[in-house]
Symmetry: C2
Subunit: 187 residues, 2 copies
Amino acid sequence: MSSICRVFVLRMGHRPVRDHRVTAHVGLVARAFGADGIYLEEHVEESIIRTLRKVTEVWGGNFEVNTVYNPIGFIKSWKKLGGIVVHLTMYGINIAERPSLLTELRERCGSILVVVGGEKMPREVFDLADYNVAIGNQPHSEVAALAVFLDRFFEGRELVREFKGAKLKVIPSERGKIVKRVTENEA
Amino acid sequence: MSSICRVFVLRMGHRPVRDHRVTAHVGLVARAFGADGIYLEEHVEESIIRTLRKVTEVWGGNFEVNTVYNPIGFIKSWKKLGGIVVHLTMYGINIAERPSLLTELRERCGSILVVVGGEKMPREVFDLADYNVAIGNQPHSEVAALAVFLDRFFEGRELVREFKGAKLKVIPSERGKIVKRVTENEA
């Protein structure tokens, strides 16, 4: 994989209140599974943005949280700047049926924008996307689709990476809940 | 993998209203990623159960949706009957650091209960579980944890499996949204 490969997530179709937790989960998954940042729609609840920034402050890493006013316009600019757009949708090409897709993506790389949404994505997203990718062709969840896509894209390496500057760190354990406070020297 | 390997999901810690969408996503993911059924707590909204049954009716498969009154008691019975309990938690053994865990699970197999919850899982679950497994040790989402666990457990085969008796089927496409109505002869 090219060392300059950066992955961002664009979360569309957020419905205030109803999608509060799901959008927060999309953001947490983006961070935990190795994305560099997330773009949320401007109308998302402030509390989601606060949660994501707080988690990054406590658990480390350089995860960026931003909002966009016009997601379609944003996708167009991304492409104009030479970025690649991957739209995760149950109607797309099944990732399990075309593994070459990931190899191709890793080779092209540069800046990848992974677009996820709910049921009603505008037609334009399907047209603008360089790849419409299905994590299986069954209805399920944008949270799950994003996690599995990133897990396969990064080949599992994202789950063992260090999050720089973390104040808290989990010590994996068979049966306990062990959280270590990281001192400044270690961070 | 033993052919009699059955996987069920137990979703704990559901908070009405607030977790409505997340619990629905946990259920949809369980089905789409190859679990045989889900156990929900008795106090979940009726509409979640209806949605999951409706999806199974339309998109196929034999996914079972049940509720339990006492999740801890249920876990104890599961173990008494010889079933294996896997608890997904960010505090557990990182699946990416111990891949042998999946091999071991596949060999033991039989009936696996995958327990997922929110932030505040009772201590007892950690003690009762045969395996406390982390999908990475960062905070993220029970929806994502379940999806990645099942994707790795079934080695991706779950994403191409047939859902018997489906009335609708997606025809994967580069750019479209193609859904085929399945006639009774084909189903």
